[in-house]
Structure formats: structure tokens, C-alpha cells
């Protein structure tokens, strides 16, 4: 056997192994300084993806900005007072000076253009050129604001307590950095006003930045916790150091490889260290068994080699299963997901290689008396944990029917819960309810049209088609239709501008708040509009040849479902009112919908594929499909239970959960592999005819539950301990990841030790009749 040769070599020449590993580690570590970070979740989809290409083209056609920050200013009584208006003016002036802000299109009281009827003439000017000094002047401003549908819900709330400054960002500007600068400016204007900074770029870039910060904090903390946990479990500093060393070296190799190959470290791959640390805990089975063997044999070399013979196969197959489950990610659409999958596969293989080389080498040179002391504690009869596990396994073996019935009841409940799962994503909800971003978003969404922006692009195949009255009326109809959705706060299109000009030209007579009857009139209105407003105002809603119109749809929530609702309502409108216009969604809300959905379904696909791959590996390992199916049960059971809880708790099935489902498979299956492999080894070693001799089978099950079971429990606890840190994270996806993995590990360990004995006893006739192939 190749592996054993490697083990023997490592035990004989430990120093050479250390030297080689050190050399390789230095080579990989040399890559680390070249690290490039990519904190933008947008890059989950490549710039060449359909949605990004389409959105870019829409942005170009309508001179739009990819990202806009909304600054909300709230006054308890009314923002229409001298003090607040002066602050708005000065804050706007400050914002214009921030790098990354597209100053020419910042809209606030002092920059937004206003066309009003004044006497029999027109007045064209920025809304506020000088701050009203008298109450009469303030009254004029109030009337101007509240009577203009282009302002209400956009820069002034109906209750006039909230105003907004819309701050578009230049391409490539970092939303968090600009938001931080804005907050610095806001801090200078204390008073009765409350300030809120919201918008997709703030949430997105803050999330990206926080994520990296958290990784920097959590990886070491997770490492420390594991270190302490191992020390407590085995009472050996040498051992704890070895495990951490192995994990660290594997992380250096893996990250070194990723960076060396030129991949930027994206949000997903930034999680690789914690995952690798968790996967590294699988070597606990080696130590677990070694300490039992060392106690029995007292000879270190023999103990190592025998340990590797006993656990070598399950350790190899668990590594294979983990690697295979992650390798599935290599076939996904999303590049950062593929990179992440590839890195974990590499890391897992490296870790397993260390299991057969570095770990035996360390064991070979560790001071004998230290191991002796640690090993003294390892006694199946003496250890409380082992006794408890033995009882647990025995419970399953002795009361198999009751156990299985309880399981079926739980499964029924879980299926019910699972059926209630709602698929949704909301990036703002990734922040905790009390966080600044959540509050800002909630306040602005309550007062104004909404912080989440989507577009519906209406395209015809003829130039000047948009200037036709029937086109404008069709668009107007669509707007009214969309505004029926409760999540839609406001819509704006070229129709609104034409109607506005029509009314203003007719001395502000509300009768003329309609689309005029001829195309020439519309053309001349738009021409007048282009003379009296920022060119971008018109460009934002119609393209140059007047072939396409862009309808702005402001949404009051970042739920992906909201944009889906807009898309569905648009399709419905088209069905009810067939027309020549082609209607297509776009904008950041649409992008969020698409990238979340793509990642989510990619992951669901990956999950299903991983299920198949893991089953195949189990079947290969056990040389039997029956055993594979049995080994599969605790895994499926665990996942179903967790989904059930997710469904009952009303937690959205979002992207982080879909990612986790996929990842946890390859890790949770380990326990089944260890349990079944060791049980069958035991049965073979003790020459038990399990098909006939029930009590001997139960005996073997109890032994497995106690001895390798302790390894399983230790593994699960370590794993859970490492991830439990995440429960204290300020971002909800981390809490989700933490809770999911902690419960996954503990549950699947528990279910393995309880349910495998019950199932094996129940199906022993079927399992052992043709079962053994060895």
C-alpha cells in the first residue's frame, strides 16, 4: 500500500519530511505578498455576464449611474425651515467636493432644476437658489415642492419631514468610502436633524469591507478556539500545536496557490481559511485512534503504523468525499465559486497528504512521556464521554423501531417546514436590524419613494417612436400598473416630464396634466425641456434617437422578490395591453435579483450534484450501495431537519444558505464514513456473523459508538467550536453560517451515533445477506 509506505517513510525520516514541508511552505508563502482583494460582491458575476453587459448598455444609453447613494435628512417638524435648508445647501456643497461623486448630477434642493409657471410666463431655475428669508417665501417653496410630482417622494416626503440628496457615483468609486466621507460632512452639521446614508453601494461595499475585516478577526479566533478545545480534549500541548500547525500550513499552501495563480481573493475565497481549519479537524480521528492504540501497545512506532492502517481508509475516503463535494463547485457558472471550490479541493488534498506524512512525522518525534501522559486519559471504560456515546449507540441498537418511528415523525415535521421555505434575497437584511444601514434604509423607504432602484426599458424599433402620444400613454399605463404594487414607491418616465411641461405651459392648469395629442407638440415640449433642465434629466429617460424610453421604478425594499414582482407585473401589463414596445428590466435591483438567483440556483444545482457524488463515493468506499444508502441517512436527515427549522423560523432561503447547503454536505458525510468503516472493520476483526448474531452486532455497534464515536464527537465539537465564533458576527449571513454549521455538525454527529445503530439493526437481514464484499 502506497499510503503506508508514505507513513513508514515519514516515521523513519521525520526530519526530512519537515524539511520538505518547510521548503514547500516557504515557496507558497512567497506568493502571499502578491495578494489582490476584490471586495465587490458584484464581481460574483463576471463583467461579461449577460446581466452586467445589459445593465452597462442601459447605463450608457441613458447616461445613468450604476450606483447612487441616498442621503436622507429628517427634521421632527419640517425640513422647510431656514436652518435645515442652509444645512442642505452646505452639505450638498461639501458632497460635491468628494472624490468619486458625479457632481454634475447630484440632486438636492439646491441643484435640482425646477420649471414652474410664473404668472403667464415660465420660471426655470434650480429649486432653491437662495434660502427663503420670510414665511411667505417659504410658503412658495412648500407649494412648489408639494405640487410637483417630480419632487414628491423623491426629494421631499409628503409630510415634508424628510428630504433627500441623491448622490450618483462615478464608475469604480467605492460606495463605503464615499459614504464615510459623507458621514464626516454630516457630523459637522449638528442640530435637530437626523441624517441617514443609504443605497445599494453603501450596503454592498460596507458588506464587502466588513466581510474581509471579519475574516481577518474570525480566522485567528476560530483557530484559537480550536487550539484550546484540542488542548482540553487531549490535555496535550504538542498535539494541539500539531493540529494547528497542520491547518496553518495547509492554509498557507492553499492561499499561496490561489494568489500565485493570479486569482483575486474574493468574498468567497476569503472564507477558505475557516473552512480549511474546520476540515483539518478530521485528523482528530488519527489522534483519537493513536491515543487508544498507544495506551494498548506502548510502542510508538507500531501504534502510529497500526493507527494509520485502522483509520487510513476512512480518512482517505472522508477526504475524497469532502474534496468531491467541493469539486462539484468547479462545474458551476460563477467564477469566484469555482475558485473557492478549487482552493478547498486543493487544501483538502494537502491536509490529507499531511495526515499520512506530517502528522506521523510529528508523532514520531514527539516526546514519549508527553504522549504517554495524554494517552493515559484515553480509556473507553474510564471516559465519561465514551460511556455516554456507548449508551447513545446502544439506545439506537436496542430500541431500533422506536428510534426509527421518532425519526419518521421528525422527518414529516421537517418536510412540512421545508415546504414553507421562501426563496428571497435582501442584501440590506444582511445587516442586523439595529445597524445604521438598516435604520437608514428603513427611514428613507418609509418617507420617500424607495432606496432600491430598478428600470424598465421600453424599446421600439423606430427612431422618434417615443415621441408619439400613444407610446407615452402606453408607458403611463405601465407606470400606473406598476405603482399598484405595494413595494413600488415611485415611477418616473419621459411621460412625466412631457405632462409637466404641458401643464406649466398652460399656466399650471391641472387639466393639462396629460399627454398632448400630437407628436410634434411632444417633440417641442421635450425640446423646451432640454432648454430648461440639465441635459442628463432627459438623457436619463430617453435615448438619443428617441427609440427607447427608460422607466425608473423606485422600490421600498431590497427584497429580490420586489423586482421579481415588477417583472411579473410588466409581463402582465404586456399581456393585457399588447403593444409594439419591448419591455425589459434593468438596473441595480434587477442585477441583485439576477446575481442572487444565479448564485442560489448554481448552489442548489451543486447541492444536488454533490448529493449524487457523495453517494457514489460512499458506495465505492463501502463496496456496497446498501451500506452507502444507510450511511446516507443521517446526512439527509440532518439537512432536512435544518431546512425544516429554516422554514418554520420564516428565514428566507437566501444565497448564504444555499452556499452552505452545498458546502456542509462534503463535511457532514465524514461521520458516516468513519462510523461504518470502523464498524465493519471491527466486525471483520472480531469475526462476528452479524447477520445471525444480534448480540454480537450490538456489541460491535456499542464499541463503534464509544471509540470511533468519540472521535466523531470530538470532530463535531471542534468543528462547531470553530464556527460558533461566527454567531457573534455583526452581519447576519455570518450568523447564519455559524448557526447552520454548528447545528449541522452536532446534529449529524448525534444522528450518526444514534440512527446508524438503529438502522443497521433494523436492516441487518438485508445488509448482511450479500453485504460483505471483502
Amino acid at each position: 500500500m502506497n499510503k503506508n509506505t508514505l507513513v513508514e517513510f515519514s516515521v523513519t525520516r521525520p526530519k526530512l519530511v519537515f524539511g520538505l514541508v518547510l521548503l514547500m511552505t516557504l515557496a507558497f508563502a512567497a506568493q502571499l505578498p502578491w495578494i489582490r482583494l476584490d471586495t465587490n460582491p458584484k464581481n460574483m458575476l463576471p463583467p461579461t455576464s449577460d446581466v452586467r453587459v445589459w445593465n452597462d448598455s442601459v447605463d450608457r444609453t441613458f447616461a445613468l449611474y450604476e450606483d447612487t447613494i441616498v442621503v436622507g435628512i429628517v427634521h421632527p417638524m419640517s425640513v422647510l425651515n431656514k436652518g435645515t435648508l442652509e444645512k442642505v445647501r452646505d452639505i450638498t456643497a461639501g458632497i460635491l467636493k468628494i472624490k468619486g461623486v458625479a457632481g454634475r448630477d447630484v440632486s438636492s434642493f439646491t441643484t435640482i432644476d425646477n420649471v414652474t409657471a410664473e404668472g403667464t410666463g415660465l420660471k426655470v431655475a434650480p429649486l432653491v437658489t437662495k434660502i427663503p428669508a420670510s414665511e411667505a417665501e417659504m410658503q412658495v417653496l412648500r407649494k412648489t415642492l408639494l405640487e410637483n410630482p417630480l419632487f414628491v417622494d423623491r426629494i421631499i416626503s409628503r409630510d415634508e419631514k424628510t428630504t433627500a440628496i441623491n448622490v450618483p457615483l462615478e464608475k469604480g468609486a467605492n460606495g463605503k468610502e464615499v459614504a464615510d466621507r459623507i458621514r464626516e460632512i454630516l457630523a459637522k452639521y449638528q442640530g435637530e436633524e437626523r441624517y441617514h446614508v443609504a443605497g445599494d453601494p453603501v450596503a454592498r461595499d460596507t458588506f464587502g469591507a466588513e466581510m474581509f475585516k471579519l475574516m481577518g478577526i474570525f480566522s485567528p479566533i476560530a483557530g484559537m478556539i480550536m487550539f484550546i478545545a484540542i488542548y482540553v480534549m487531549f490535555g496535550s500541548l504538542t498535539l494541539a500545536t500539531t493540529m494547528m500547525l497542520v491547518a496553518m500550513v495547509a492554509i498557507v499552501w492553499t492561499m499561496g496557490l490561489g494568489i500565485g495563480l493570479g486569482f483575486p481573493i474574493h468574498i468567497m475565497s476569503s472564507m477558505a481559511p475557516v473552512f480549511l481549519m474546520a476540515i483539518a479537524t478530521d485528523s482528530i480521528h488519527i489522534f483519537n485512534e493513536f491515543y487508544f492504540r498507544f495506551r494498548e501497545k506502548k510502542d510508538r512506532r507500531t501504534a502510529i503504523i497500526e493507527t494509520m492502517e485502522a483509520v487510513g481508509r476512512p480518512v482517505r475516503y472522508t477526504a475524497l468525499a469532502t474534496a468531491a463535494a467541493f469539486a462539484v463547485l468547479l462545474f458551476m457558472q460563477i467564477v469566484p465559486v469555482r475558485v473557492f471550490g478549487g482552493l478547498i479541493v486543493f487544501g483538502t488534498i494537502v491536509l490529507r497528504l499531511f495526515s499520512f506524512s506530517l502528522i506521523p512525522a510529528v508523532l514520531a518525534i514527539a516526546r514519549q512521556e508527553k504522549i504517554g501522559a495524554a494517552a493515559a486519559g484515553e480509556d473507553v471504560t474510564a471516559s465519561r464521554t465514551a460511556r455516554a456515546l456507548k449508551q447513545l449507540g446502544a439506545l439506537g441498537a436496542n430500541r431500533p423501531l422506536a428510534t426509527a418511528a421518532a425519526g419518521l415523525a421528525l422527518i414529516a415535521m421537517a418536510v412540512l417546514g421545508t415546504s414553507r421555505i421562501v426563496v428571497n434575497n435582501n442584501m440590506v437584511a444582511w445587516f442586523k436590524p439595529g445597524s445604521e444601514i438598516r435604520i437608514a434604509d428603513a427611514v428613507i423607504n418609509r418617507a420617500l419613494g424607495g432606496t432600491s432602484l430598478g428600470y424598465v426599458v421600453a424599446a421600439s424599433d423606430q427612431s422618434d417612436a417615443i415621441k408619439r402620444p400613444e407610446t407615452l400613454r402606453y408607458i403611463e399605463g405601465l407606470q400606473r400598473h406598476l405603482e399598484k404594487l405595494p413595494v413600488v414607491g415611485k415611477t418616473i418616465s419621459v411621460t412625466d416630464y412631457v405632462k409637466r411641461i404641458n401643464r406649466v405651459l398652460h399656466d399650471d392648469d391641472p387639466k393639462f396634466d396629460v399627454v398632448p395629442d400630437t407628436a410634434d407638440t411632444i417633440a417641442q415640449y421635450l425640446f423646451l425641456f432640454s432648454m430648461s433642465a440639465k441635459p442628463s434629466d432627459l438623457d436619463n429617460v430617453v435615448d438619443y434617437p428617441f427609440e427607447k424610453a427608460n422607466i425608473w421604478v423606485q422600490l421600498k425594499t431590497w427584497d429580490a422578490a420586489a423586482m421579481q414582482g415588477v417583472i411579473d407585473a410588466t409581463a402582465e401589463y404586456q399581456r393585457l395591453h399588447p403593444g409594439k414596445l419591448d419591455l425589459k428590466p434593468a438596473g441595480i435591483a434587477y442585477f441583485n435579483l439576477v446575481w442572487n438567483q444565479e448564485v442560489l440556483w448554481d448552489m442548489v444545482k451543486g447541492f444536488l450534484l454533490a448529493l449524487v457524488v457523495v453517494l457514489v463515493i460512499l458506495a465505492l468506499d463501502f463496496g456496497s450501495l446498501k451500506w452507502a444508502l444507510i450511511g446516507y441517512v443521517p446526512l439527509l436527515f440532518t439537512i432536512l431537519l435544518i431546512y425544516g427549522v429554516v422554514g418554520f423560523a420564516g428565514k428566507d432561503f437566501d444565497m448564504p444558505i444555499s452556499v452552505l447547503s452545498c458546502l456542509s454536505l462534503g463535511m457532514a458525510v465524514d461521520f458516516s464514513i468513519h462510523f461504518i468503516s470502523r464498524l465493519r472493520q471491527r466486525l471483520a476483526e472480531t469475526a462476528v456473523d452479524a447477520g445471525r448474531d444480534l448480540s454480537a452486532l450490538k456489541e460491535a455497534l456499542a464499541w463503534t459508538a464509544a471509540r470511533p464515536g468519540k472521535g466523531i464527537m470530538r470532530n463535531a465539537v471542534l468543528f462547531a467550536a470553530a464556527f460558533s465564533v461566527m454567531l457573534f458576527a455583526p452581519l447576519t449571513p455570518y450568523i447564519t453560517v455559524g448557526a447552520f454549521i454548528v447545528s449541522m455538525m452536532l446534529l449529524s454527529a448525534l444522528l450518526t451515533i444514534l440512527y446508524l445503530p438503529a438502522l443497521i439493526v433494523l436492516t441487518r437481514g438485508w445488509l448482511f445477506k450479500t453485504g460483505e464484499t471483502k
Partner: protein
């Protein structure tokens, strides 16, 4: 050695002689800007031109405006009258625009909307806003006041073979630009180039006089462009059939002629 030294000395003397009078003759920055405004916006007692304006977006798509521009300087006060008639695009044909410009206060403007046969007075507080969707502002088209900015002579240099003064001007009240540099022809007084900088002192817009020709007695910028460096939008303008001192009368610049374009001048 000797002849060489003599040549060097002569050269030095010549340089001193040339540069001293030149320096002495340099007008003040305000004077330069004043003469430039006069040359650029006030040439002749009146002017007529066919103007073709192309708005070009970053994708290279073009919107074209064809117009006739009439201008009258009614007196020495600095008042001006503009009449602009749009021939195209076809669906806005007949739209026309009247401006009474005063040096010390906001101009009066009227627009005629042909489909409604309606004249509207526009009270505009927006000399910095875009002229018909172009990258030129109203002020760029009809001129600004000398006193709105402080001016300083930055340097003298050649630009495209022409000697220029480079003037730095800063607006006295906050507007959309924080400063601008103008390259003003030292002999013809026309601005050959202008660079505008925004509140962050980053380049914002660039004006270039692409073609300068003598029309009658006056040097005239017959092709010009303005490029917005931040949005990559640009506007190209060509002046054709430029005529000065053609004898425009004041009554053309009234509401009556706005409704009924003077066919003698608008063809």
C-alpha cells in the same frame, strides 16, 4: 571666439530690447478679458449666421440642431438682443428664441412654441445651464460679465502657432466651476481655448476654437467645440454664412417677429 561672443551679446541685447517693451505693453488681465469678450461676443453692430450644432453623446450618437442666429448690439451700454430660429430637427422647426441681454442683470427670454402658437416668457435664473441640451451654457453662447470673475494673467505662450495670453479666472460667487483658464489670442483677442475646473479642481469642460476665419472686418471663430471631460459628451458648432453689420432693426427682436419669423433674415 570673438565673433561668437559678439553674436551672443547681440542676441542678448536683442532679447532684452524685445522683451522689455513687450512686458511694458502687456495689458492687465481685466483688460485682456474685456477685449476678448468684445471680440468674441460683440463684433460688429449686428451679426447674422447659420449655425449648425451637433450634440454627440459618448456612444457617438448625434442630435443635430440647425438654426439661424441674429444678434444686435443696440447701443454702447452692453445690451444685446439675440434671435434664434430652429430649422431642425424637423419636428421642432419654427421654435424660436428671443433673448434680451443686459450686462448687469438677468436676461429676458421668450420662446415661441409653434404647435401651440404660443409665446412664453421665461424668467431664467440659469445662465450656467445647458443651451438646448448642448455642452455650452447660455453664458457660453451669449457671453458673461467681466465682473463676475476675478482675472489674473498666468503666463504667455503659443497655442497652435498663435501667441496667447493665458488668463486664470475665478468666479466670485459659487457656480458649477471653480476656475477656468483661457488662452486668448494676443492679436485677434479671440479665446482659442478654455479649460474649466470643477469644485474638486478636476478638469470639467474644454472649449476649443477649431477654426478662426476673417469674416468681413472681424476675426470669427467659425468652428468651435465644447467637451465635457467627465461625461464624455461633446458639442460641435459650425458657423456658416457669417455676416456682420447687415442692418438688423430693433423691431425684429420683438414678440411679433417671434411669432412670425422675419423671412428676410431667416431662410
Amino acid at each position: 571666439m570673438k565673433p561668437l561672443r559678439r553674436i551672443a551679446l547681440l542676441g542678448f541685447a536683442a532679447a532684452v530690447m524685445v522683451s522689455i517693451p513687450a512686458r511694458a505693453a502687456d495689458p492687465s488681465a481685466d483688460e485682456i478679458v474685456k477685449r476678448s469678450l468684445e471680440a468674441f461676443y460683440y463684433a460688429g453692430s449686428d451679426m447674422r449666421a447659420k449655425v449648425q450644432m451637433k450634440l454627440i453623446n459618448p456612444q457617438g450618437q448625434i442630435r443635430q440642431r440647425d438654426m439661424t442666429m441674429l444678434r444686435l448690439n443696440p447701443g454702447k451700454s452692453g445690451d444685446q438682443r439675440y434671435y434664434i430660429y430652429f430649422h431642425g430637427p424637423a419636428d421642432v422647426k419654427g421654435t424660436s428664441f428671443l433673448v434680451w441681454k443686459y450686462p448687469a442683470k438677468d436676461s429676458d427670454r421668450w420662446i415661441f412654441i409653434p404647435t401651440l402658437r404660443l409665446v412664453k416668457r421665461i424668467a431664467a435664473d440659469d445662465k450656467r445651464s445647458s443651451f438646448v441640451g448642448s455642452d455650452f451654457t447660455y453664458e457660453d453662447v451669449s457671453g458673461r460679465n467681466l465682473e463676475d470673475e476675478t482675472h489674473a494673467l498666468a503666463r504667455k505662450e503659443d497655442l497652435g502657432g498663435r501667441p496667447t495670453y493665458v488668463i486664470e479666472s475665478k468666479p466670485k460667487v459659487v457656480v458649477d466651476y471653480s476656475r477656468r483658464l483661457s488662452w486668448i489670442d494676443r492679436e485677434r483677442w479671440l479665446p482659442l481655448k478654455e479649460e474649466y475646473f470643477d469644485a474638486r479642481n478636476e478638469p470639467q469642460r474644454t472649449f476649443v476654437a477649431d477654426k478662426v476665419e476673417q469674416k468681413g472686418k472681424y476675426w470669427t471663430v467659425t468652428a468651435r467645440s465644447m467637451k465635457n471631460l467627465q461625461s464624455a459628451h461633446r458639442t460641435e458648432v459650425v458657423f456658416q454664412e457669417v455676416e456682420y453689420d447687415v442692418g438688423l432693426k430693433q423691431d425684429i427682436f420683438t414678440e411679433r417677429y417671434l411669432r412670425d419669423a422675419p423671412s428676410q433674415w431667416i431662410r
